[in-house]
Subunit: 551 residues, 2 copies
C-alpha cells in the first residue's frame, strides 16, 4: 500500500481554497498510484475555526465541501480528510471532530475524535462531543487505526498538573489495538511551541514502539492568527524509528510504501532543530500568514534604536519583503543620538523606507493643554506615557492612511511586567515578539546577523532603555533580564508560586516584586494585540487570569 501525507496551509472558513488545495494533491497522488492520502485535522475548514462552528451555515458548507471532494476525486484512491460532523443524536454537544474516509465518490467511514483537548489554547469541549465508539478502517487488505490528533496524546507528560500522570480517563489506542490494526493514522492540527519539539516527536515514536506498528501523522502547516502550525508530519516505523519527517513551517508532501516504513529501523536518534532557528522561522511564517490571509501586504512600525524594534523589523522584512515596510523614527528630547543614527543604519542595511518625525513639540503642547488639569503636580509616568501614545497615534495615522498594519514590537518580558504603555508602544495589529523573552530577543538578533550584520552591533550592545525621561535605563526599574526572565518563566510557564521560586535560591524581594508586577498588569495584557505563540504558554487566549482578583 502506498500512503501519502499532504501537509498543507489552510485558511479558516475558506472552503473553496481549502478544497482546491486538497483536490490538487489528490490528483497528484492518484497519478502516482497512491492508495491512501491523508489530510490534517479539520482540514476542510482550517484549524481553529472557534465559534464559527456554532453557525449552521458553516457546518453545512463544511459538509458540502467534503461531499464535493468525494464526488470530484478519482476512483481507487482513499482519502482521509478532517471535518466537523453534525451529531444527529438527541443528546450531547452539536458536533464531532471527525476524520472522514472517502472512497469511490462517497463518504465510506467516519472516525470521531475521542480525546478533546481543553486546556491552554484548546477549547474543543466547547464544540465537540467525544467519540465513544472505537472501530477500525479496513481498506485494500489493511486494517487501519484512524485517530485524530489528541487521541494519541493520552500518555503526554502533563506539566503543571501537580502530580497527575494523565489528563484523560480513556486510551483510544488501547481500544483500537483490540482489532489488531496494521498501522496508525493520526490527522493533527498541533501548534508550534519551541519547547515542545521533543515531546511532539516522542509521542509518535513511543506509540509506534509500544504497539509495534507504524504511525503516519499529518500536521497542519501555516499560521492562523496567533497560532503557528509547524508541520513536521511523520512516518514512524514499527520499532519507533523515524522513517521521515516532513519540513517544518511549510507545505510539504511525501509518499511512502507501507512495507518500507514497517521494516525500517535506525539506531541513531534524529536531531532536534536549534530552538532559535525554530523561533525565527516560526515567527516569519506567523507574520507572513497573518498578512497574506488578511489580504494585507504592507507593515509599519516604530524604529526606536532598541533591539526589539530592530529584530521585529528584520523578521518582518524577511516575511513581507523590504519594499513592503515603511517605518517611523520618532525621537524626543530624551532620545540618545545613537537611537537615531542606529535606526537609520538599520533601515539603510535593509533598504527600508523611513521617515523621521520629532515629537518634542507635540509633547510640549500636550503638557501645556493639561496644565490646568495637572496644575503643579510633578512629572511622572503620565508624561512618559504621553510620549509613547504620541508615537502610537503617529504610527496608527500612517497605518490608516497608507493601509499598513502596525506591528507591535513588545517582548514577553516587558509584556509580563507591564513595562509598556497601553495605546502607545503596546499598540499594533500583531505582536511579533510578545512570546519571546528579552534574553531570547538577543539570541534572535545574533541569529539574524549570522551571515551579515543586518542589525547594527551597537543596537545589540547598548543597555536597553525606553528613553522616556533623561538617562532612563530598563535596569532602573527591572532586575537584569537574565534574572527577570528566569523568574518569569518559572511563574508563567511552570506556574510556580513565589515561595517555590524563592526556595530555588532567588532573592525573595525580587521574586515578590516581579510577581506583583505580573499580577498588577493583567489589565494591560487584556488589551494587547494577538501575540504570535511560539512557546507552550503565551499571553493571550491560552492564559486566562481574572483581572479583578486577589491572589
Amino acid at each position: 500500500m502506498k500512503i501519502a501525507l499532504a501537509q498543507l496551509n489552510y485558511i479558516v472558513g475558506d472552503f473553496g481554497f481549502n478544497r482546491t488545495l486538497m483536490l490538487e494533491k489528490i490528483m497528484e497522488a492518484s497519478g502516482n498510484g497512491v492508495d491512501l492520502i491523508l489530510f490534517s485535522e479539520l482540514s476542510i475548514c482550517g484549524y481553529p475555526p472557534l465559534d464559527l462552528l456554532e453557525r449552521k451555515v458553516f457546518i453545512e458548507k463544511s459538509t458540502l465541501s467534503i461531499e464535493t471532494i468525494a464526488a470530484e476525486m478519482p476512483d481507487n484512491i482513499g482519502v482521509i480528510v478532517g471535518g466537523p460532523e453534525y451529531n444527529d443524536q438527541k443528546e450531547g454537544k452539536l458536533l464531532f471532530n471527525s476524520a472522514y474516509f472517502l472512497f469511490n465518490g462517497k463518504i465510506e467511514g467516519i472516525f470521531r475524535k475521542s480525546l478533546l483537548p481543553t486546556y491552554d489554547i484548546f477549547d474543543e469541549y466547547r464544540y465537540f462531543e467525544p467519540g465513544k465508539e472505537f472501530k477500525i478502517l479496513e481498506f485494500k487488505g489493511e486494517k487501519i487505526a484512524v485517530t485524530v490528533c489528541e487521541d494519541l496524546w493520552d500518555d503526554q507528560p502533563v506539566e503543571n498538573q501537580f502530580s497527575r500522570s494523565r489528563l484523560y480517563t480513556i486510551n483510544p489506542m488501547n481500544e483500537l489495538m483490540k482489532y489488531q490494526p496494521d498501522f496508525i493514522v493520526n490527522i493533527a492540527a498541533s501548534p508550534f511551541a519551541f519547547d515542545r519539539q521533543r515531546v511532539k516527536r516522542d509521542i509518535f515514536t513511543e506509540k509506534a514502539k509500544k504497539h509495534g506498528i507504524p504511525v503516519f501523522m499529518v500536521n497542519q502547516a501555516g499560521a492562523n492568527t496567533e497560532l503557528i502550525f509547524d508541520g513536521g508530519s511523520l512516518a514512524v516505523s514499527s520499532d519507533g524509528s523515524i522513517f521521515q519527517q516532513l519540513k517544518f513551517f511549510e507545505n510539504d508532501y511525501a509518499e511512502f510504501e507501507l512495507e518500507d516504513v514497517v521494516n525500517y529501523s535506525s539506531k541513531s536518534e534524529s536531531r532536534l532543530t536549534d530552538r532559535i532557528k525554530l523561533m525565527h522561522d516560526g515567527l516569519i511564517l506567523g507574520i507572513r500568514d497573518y498578512f497574506q490571509k488578511s489580504g494585507f501586504s504592507k507593515a509599519t512600525l516604530g524604529l526606536s534604536g532598541g533591539i526589539d524594534s530592530a529584530v521585529t523589523l528584520a523578521l518582518a522584512a524577511k516575511a513581507l519583503g523590504n519594499e513592503n515596510l515603511h517605518v517611523l523614527l520618532m525621537p524626543s528630547q530624551y532620545s540618545s543620538d545613537h537611537s537615531i543614527s542606529d535606526s537609520e543604519e538599520m533601515a539603510g542595511n535593509l533598504g527600508i523606507k523611513y521617515d523621521i518625525i520629532y515629537i518634542e513639540e507635540l509633547f510640549n503642547q500636550y503638557k501645556v493643554l493639561l496644565q490646568p488639569v495637572f496644575l503643579d503636580k510633578p512629572e511622572d509616568v503620565a508624561e512618559e506615557n504621553i510620549q509613547s501614545r504620541i508615537r502610537g497615534t503617529l504610527l496608527m495615522a500612517l497605518s490608516n492612511k497608507l493601509g499598513n498594519i502596525l506591528l507591535n514590537t513588545s517582548n514577553k518580558s516587558e509584556t509580563a511586567v507591564g513595562y509598556g504603555t497601553l495605546y502607545g508602544d503596546m499598540a499594533g495589529g500583531l505582536s511579533v515578539l510578545g512570546d519571546v523573552y528579552k534574553t531570547d530577543v538577543y539570541e534572535l538578533a545574533n541569529y539574524i546577523n549570522r551571515d551579515d550584520e543586518l542589525i547594527p552591533i551597537n543596537i545589540i550592545k547598548k543597555p536597553p532603555s525606553a528613553e522616556l525621561r533623561p538617562d532612563q535605563k530598563d535596569s532602573d526599574s527591572l532586575p537584569d533580564y537574565d534574572v527577570l526572565d528566569t523568574i518569569l518563566e518559572k511563574y508563567i510557564e511552570k506556574q510556580l508560586s513565589d515561595d517555590d521560586i524563592i526556595k530555588e535560591g532567588f532573592d525573595a524581594e525580587t521574586v515578590k516584586r516581579v510577581i506583583r508586577m505580573v499580577d498588577n498588569n493583567e489589565y494591560k495584557r487584556y488589551q494587547t494585540p494577538p501575540i504570535l505563540r511560539i512557546s507552550s504558554k503565551a499571553f493571550g487566549v491560552g492564559r486566562r487570569i481574572p483581572l479583578v482578583a486577589k491572589y
Copy 2:
C-alpha cells in the same frame, strides 16, 4: 429543618475575605437555629477563578480555607460550601467542582458537579473532571440531593444549536431521584443576562414540579471583571411555586422552614422585572465592583455631548459617587456648540468636576508633522482617528496622573460594526455599554431620567454624530439604529446567516453590508477593554471568532 440561603459577593482569590464573609453568616444562622446553610458554587475562592485553578498554591489555600471554616464553625449546623477539589485519581483532569458538606468540625461529604458548562463564557471542562458518582446527603433525617449549578440545566433550551434538544448525555437529577430525596439543593454561580430571566427561573420551578420536591438554589451576587452575578436565589415549593426569590444584584440572606416551602402553593406566576431596570441595576453593580475589588475609587471619561457618554456618566455617578468623577470635554473645530453646552449642563446636573481642553491645535500639529509622510493625500479616516486618539491620550494622561480609571463609552452597536477608533474612543479600563445596543442606550437614558432630567433632553433628542468631520452624522455611514440593532441581534445573538436574515424580509444589501462590517472589525474587538456582560452573548471572552479567516 431550617434552611438558610446566603447570597454573597465574593472576591476571586481573596480567601480571607470570602471565609470571613461566610463565617459571619454561619454564626448568624446558627444563632437563629438554622440546621443547614448554603453558600454558592466555588464560594470559597469566588467565581470564576479561571486559570488560577491551575496553580497548586491556589488549590491548597482553597482546601485550607474550607478546613478552617469547618474548624471554626459552631456544632450542630450543617454547611454547604462550594470549592475546587483535588482529583486524587491517577487519571482525568486535576480537579472536581464540588459542594463540600461540613458538620461538627469536619468535611462530612463531597458532591461533585457532573455537568460542566463549556460554552459562551464558561470553560469548566478546562479545569474539571465531571463527577460520575451520584449519591445523596442524609442529614438530620432528611435526604438531600446536592447539585452544583449546571447539574440542573440538562433540560435547558439550547439556543443556536440547530435542532438539538440537550447539551448533555446524562441527567443528574434522574440519577439522584433513585434515592427518593426530600429536597434539592443547588449551589450556583450563574451570571446575569437580561434576556435569560425567565429561563433562569423556569429551570428551577420546572425541576421542582417534575420531581415533586422543593428546590433551594443559592446564587452568587456581585460582579467579577465582566461577569455580573445577579443573585435572585430561590426557594421553590414541591409544586413549582416560588416561595421566595432573594434580591437581585445584592447580598441577601433568608431562612426557611422546610415544611413551609414543601407545602406552599401559589396559582399566580411571579412577575418578571423590567429588562431596562435590570440592565441599569446590573451595570451599576458591574462598575462598582470593578472599582471596589480593584482598589480604585475614581473614574474619568470623555463627555462628548452624545448619549453614550451621558448614560455612562450617569451610571458611573450612581455607582461611584459624583465626587469620584472627573471628566473631560474635548471639543474640536467639528464639534457643535451644543456638544459643549449640553455636556456642561449634564456635568452640572450631577455636580461633576470637568475640564475643557480644545484639541484643534494639537490636531493641526499632527497634520503638519505628518504632511511629509502623507504628502497631498486627501483627508480621510486617518485624520478622524487622530482626533479620537488625541482624546484617548488626554484621558489616559488624566487617568495616569490622578489615578482614575478611564471608562469606555462605546455601545454594542458601534462596537459590532467597528464604528469607533482603536486607542481612541475604544480605550478604557472597563466598557460600560459595550453589551448594550444603541436603541437600549436610549431606553436606559429615559429610565435614568424617570424622576429628574439628569440627562439633558437635548442629548437624547439630537441625531447621533461622531463629530469628526464637518456635519457628520452616524446615519451617513450606518443604517438607522432600529434596523441595525435588529440585524445585529440576529447575527450575533441568534447566529443566523445573511441568507436567513434576508429571508425574514430585511434589505439584502443592508444585511450584507452590516455583516461585512461586523466580520471586518473582529480585530478591533480583540483589543477592547473588558465589557460588562448583560446579555446572553456579549463581545469578549464568550464570543471567540478567529481574526484571520474567511467566512
